[in-house]
């Protein structure tokens, strides 16, 4: 029997880093596994290297990004084991000891852990529009990733680009690029019902900084003279082998812009495949229009040894994720008998109050940027829904209405939808929304894909080599 660490944390974004730092202070033998070569997750992507090698870019990215430096510093000095560049492809839950299978630098390792905390963050909601598979079309998150990690920006050689969709990230990326001297040709905003957000304004105003930041971004874009078209109702990207033109409906008429790049965004949703693969109970969150693992106030899931924190458990934003990471670390320490309930309640008070504050800001943002139906269930029959298997919207509708295909897993049998390399990550939500729309039932009744491990690519050779794999059992504490 191999020795087990107390807590395995999967993901080194704000939730994972904060959880690891807190867990180590509470005396838990903690191991963090993260897919990226550096800590920070997507929100603080590449921050250590950026601060060291191109500090002037910190101004472009802004103070919210720079704030990640403090968190990464605390993480680096915490007494934990940190495996960067480690892809977790399966977690085998068990009451006493979970087994975490991961791949790192070409070999497979197994980590035994009494508790597992999933902090794998968010991904962008799929935004299927005609032409979204063309080279030159990326997500806003991708645009921001290359800006942070590589100092790369679009619009080189006089190229033109637009940002299309809605959500805080879209405005933030537009402002960051503008600061870098790279001006978008246009912002095509799809927000459709501002008034619906109004009742949630008090919670938003109570959370520190949100309103000022949002208005600040809008002011910045206006001052820079970035054309913003609000209330765009239809989008199509055209091109032969590359995006060349974007066609959009705005103000009741059709417009066209020549483009080299298009950045799409329709909010973020939990990055769910690992949680689904563990069969954790999930809840349909209608305000966020996404599934999230069903959790107690401390991040405990329906499986006793598994916890979830940060955006992976429902979107809370970077600061909320950080607070929730700490809260979950206290819960793990309590469950493992390192602290008692009373100490847990007392010590976690600040983190819980911070989390509540950030949670209170969400309903306003969720309502303001709630995607309109045409962005989550594409009306055009020709729009690709499953990018991997190239299944189009018309085919999915036809199978539901004519063949009575009831759910996403039956859809797999019909057309292999969701069975390509991305394992449904980029079509899952669209497919369940479309089935629900056709059947005229709530999405919660349609369910979700049954996700099976491995949730990351692993070869037969990797699996065969497992018996001789290096086992990182003993934790250096």
């Amino acid at each position: 029997m191999n020795a087990a660490c107390d807590l395995a944390i999967i993901g080194a974004g704000p939730a994972g880093m904060a959880a690891a730092t807190t867990a180590s202070e509470l005396g838990l033998a903690t191991v963090v596994l993260d897919e990226q070569p550096e800590p920070g997750g997507q929100i603080y992507r590449g921050i250590e290297r950026l601060a060291a090698t191109r500090p002037r870019h910190l101004e472009i990215l802004g103070p919210d990004y720079a704030a990640g430096l403090e968190l990464t510093r605390a993480f680096r000095t915490a007494r934990i084991d940190y495996f960067d560049s480690a892809q977790v492809w399966q977690v085998e839950p068990a009451e006493a000891v979970n087994r975490v299978f991961y791949k790192r630098f070409g070999s497979v390792g197994i980590l035994n852990a009494k508790k597992v905390l999933i902090t794998v963050g968010a991904m962008e909601r799929p935004m299927p529009v005609p032409g979204w598979t063309l080279p030159g079309v990326l997500t806003c998150g991708a645009g921001q990733t290359v800006l942070k990690a590589n100092g790369l920006g679009p619009g080189g050689n006089g190229g033109r680009f637009v940002l299309a969709g809605c959500g805080p990230l879209l405005l933030l990326l537009a402002a960051q690029l503008t600061r870098a001297g790279i001006k978008p040709a246009a912002i095509l905003e799809t927000t459709f019902n501002r008034w619906a957000a109004l009742p949630h304004l008090p919670g938003f105003l109570a959370a520190p900084g949100y309103l000022g930041k949002g208005l600040g971004l809008l002011r910045e874009l206006k001052a820079a003279g970035v054309p913003m078209h609000k209330g765009v109702t239809r989008l199509a990207i055209k091109g032969d082998t590359q995006a060349r033109e974007i066609e959009f409906e705005w103000g009741g008429s059709l417009h066209r812009e020549p483009v080299d790049e298009v950045f799409l965004h329709q909010g973020v949703v939990p990055n769910g495949n690992l949680a689904w693969s563990l069969n954790l109970a999930h809840t349909w969150d209608d305000a966020q229009r996404a599934y999230r693992p069903t959790l107690d106030a401390w991040g405990r899931s329906s499986v006793a040894s598994i916890l979830v924190a940060g955006d992976a458990g429902g979107i809370v934003g970077a600061k909320g994720a950080e607070a929730m990471g700490r809260v979950a670390a206290f819960a793990a320490a309590t469950d493992l008998g390192k602290i008692d309930h009373e100490a847990c309640e007392r010590q976690a008070r600040d983190a819980r109050a911070t989390l509540d504050q950030h949670r209170a800001a969400r309903p306003f943002l969720d309502a303001l940027y709630r995607p309109a139906q045409q962005w989550i269930a594409p009306p055009d029959a020709d729009t690709v829904v499953c990018r991997c298997e190239e299944v189009r919207a018309g085919e999915i509708r036809r199978l539901v209405t004519e063949q009575h295909c009831p759910g996403p897993n039956q859809m797999k049998s019909f057309v292999r939808c969701g069975m390509g390399p991305c394992q449904g990550r980029l079509c899952g939500l669209t497919v369940v929304e479309m089935i629900a729309e056709c059947r005229q039932v709530p999405v919660s009744e349609v369910g979700y894909y049954r996700i099976r491990p491995p949730v990351k690519p692993v070869t037969i050779g990797d699996m065969a080599a497992m018996d001789v794999a290096v086992r990182h059992d003993a934790v250096g504490l």
Binding site: L138, N150, L152, G155, G156, G159, C422
Partner: protein, 98 residues
């Protein structure tokens, strides 16, 4: 087209994209190297042979599958470049080699 912002360090290393040697800053992923060098489609799909290119840059979409140092189907956005790395676009399905 993607290009480097001002105030980016000058250090470079060489990688070979589709047989052509190009220079990229250290710390780049293979997918970012493809964007910098304007590679366009980095693979064609197994179903309809459609051209695709990096889309999410964070490991979830699997559009940036490419051949790296002879091994096909690598997620280009998760592989950090090293000196002399050979990066190739890949076409259609993998085939069994006799």
């Amino acid at each position: 087209m993607f290009s480097l912002l001002p105030d980016t360090p000058r250090e470079r290393l060489n990688v070979v994209i589709n047989g052509k040697t190009v220079s990229v800053p250290p710390g780049f992923t293979a997918a970012a190297a493809m964007l910098l060098h304007n590679a366009g489609a980095t693979r064609t799909t197994p179903i309809n042979d459609e051209g695709r290119a990096p889309y999410c840059m964070m490991g979830v979409c699997f559009e940036c599958l490419m051949e790296i140092n002879g091994e096909a189907n690598q997620q280009g956005c998760l592989v950090i470049v090293s000196e002399g790395m050979r990066i190739n676009t890949q076409h259609g399905k993998r085939e069994v080699q006799a």
